[in-house]
Each structure stands twice: as C-alpha cells, then as structure tokens.
Symmetry: C2
Subunit: 78 residues, 2 copies
C-alpha cells in the first residue's frame, strides 16, 4: 500500500528532497515523500485481502489525521 | 517513483511492521517498507521526464547498492 502525507500537511522530507535536487541542478517543482509497504496477507479473495489491509492501515500503518493511504492488490500492484 | 529495499537486503522497518501487525492479531507474512516520492518535473515529453527522474534516482533518491526504484508517470501513476 502507499501512505502519503495529505495535501496541506507539512512534509519536511519532501522539502529536503526538493532542496537537494535543486542544489544538484534539477529544476523540480514540489516533492512529497511517503511510504510504500509491501505485505503478504492470507485471504480467500481480493475483497477480503483489501478489507484486512484497510484495518491494518487504520490501526497501525497510516495516521489518518495527516496521511492518506491507497491499497493495491497483486495484479494492480503499484 | 517507488524506492524499495532490494530482495535479500535487511529491512528493519519492514520487520518492525511485521512484528507490530502480528502483535495486533494480524497473521501477516513478510512486510517490506520503502518510499514513494511524488515529484513535479518540467519536461517536453514522457521520455524526457522519465530520463530526468532516472538521473535523480541515481544521483540522490535511491541507493543502488541496496535499493531498487520504479518510475511511474502521470497516467500510470501508482
């Protein structure tokens, strides 16, 4: 799954990436940094797998106040 | 782009995620944690954008010894 800082939320990692790339001569616009988490789950169906991962995001993997998440299952894995 | 630890490379963040999820009662298999970096670049074509981002990955955004990267352009953005 992908976990990204929500729009409008301060992203110091993204700002550091922007500054470093510009210093190296790359004229980039905005950069935002999040996490990609690849996870093996045991499920009977794609729907069940998605529901399990949603619960994991809500309980541990994403902070819903400041982050949004996106789940991709094998076949449409990012 | 997505930057992930290469297979076989130790991933302490992934191990921490595995342990925490199991402690919460989720019977997960392996977890691996990497970064997703969303970046605005100014390019004339998709090919030029991809080439620019490849140079950024090689110079700053990924450590080729221990990480692999994957570039997605808008339209096939993960």
């Amino acid at each position: 799954m992908l976990v990204r800082p929500k729009g409008g939320i301060l992203d110091p990692q993204g700002e550091a990436v922007e500054r470093s790339l510009r210093r190296l001569g790359f004229p980039v616009g905005e950069a935002r940094v999040g996490r990609v988490i690849d996870l093996e789950v045991d499920a009977e169906s794609a729907e069940e797998a998605r529901a399990q991962v949603e619960r994991m995001c809500e309980r541990l993997l994403a902070n819903p106040l400041i982050e949004s998440y996106e789940i991709a299952l094998p076949g449409n894995r990012p």
